[in-house]
Subunit: 157 residues, 2 copies
């Protein structure tokens, strides 16, 4: 359909081959979009961005690829209360740092924050340990989101 990308071997090459997955054009295109963006993209956002470069890649493949990337733990999937899932490269990948989110209930703006994270993590570890013991529940990850009004929406509200 089109020639393989001319890039040097990308950092994610091994992740795919090691997992027994093929390194396809669609998957690379989707990872490129995610890697270039600092936003929290929906499947359609990603589809449209990919579409500009590879018009033949369909929305179905975007969904399937995102599902795979989430399963491979290369991508986080979020629900911020609008009706669509949102995706973001996982921490560690592309130098992304662990962070939590502020979500504006009015305009949907999403802010990453890394401040206070250290103390939060400390408490989380403590809490996770306690919960693990009390409920014998093996915690694998957590979601922390603050909802409210961003600066603009406070003025306009």
């Amino acid at each position: 359909m089109f020639n393989r990308m001319q890039n040097q071997i990308p950092w994610w090459h091994g992740r795919f081959r090691g997992g027994g997955y093929r390194l396809t054009v669609a998957r690379q295109a989707i990872l490129n979009v995610l890697g270039k963006s600092d936003k929290h993209l929906s499947a359609e956002d990603i589809y449209l961005a990919v579409h500009k470069v590879y018009p033949a890649i369909g929305l179905t493949t975007v969904y399937r690829t995102l599902e795979l990337l989430v399963q491979m733990k290369m991508v986080f999937k979020f629900d911020f209360g609008d009706k669509r899932a949102r995706y973001e490269l996982a921490e560690g990948v592309q130098g992304t740092k662990h962070h939590h989110h502020l979500v504006c209930s009015a305009c949907g703006r999403i802010i990453n924050y890394t401040d206070f994270i250290d103390k939060e993590i400390e408490l989380l570890n403590q809490t996770e340990k306690g919960l693990q013991e009390k409920f014998n529940f093996k915690i694998t990850n957590h979601i922390i989101q603050f909802y409210g009004l961003c600066d603009k929406c406070q003025k306009n509200g």
Copy 2:
């Protein structure tokens, strides 16, 4: 369609009348279901429970009522990663205590926990204050969820 419930004036009477809303049979039935359950019910769960007593009340009304109750801050709406929204009486209402959630990724079980909450709240207040200043973001509420495997699913997994 059917006679008004014979209950004494319920605690939520004032909340409705004060907001300019009518105190209908459907709304009371739905609040009764929520008040009696300690689970995290979906719209359909609530519809089925209501249906046993008032078969004429439709699913649409359940959705509309839940939307209203969330807007009135009498009910919390959650997304636990299954495909449906889940509802729970808000803290303070019916003596409900503020709590966070453990969600089993395998079987979907949801556990409320109130332990560690005090320390969490303390840190949250601190964090919220900091975020408020740094981003001029007015925080109204937060979501904290831990995902993992419950005791049963660890054995069976």
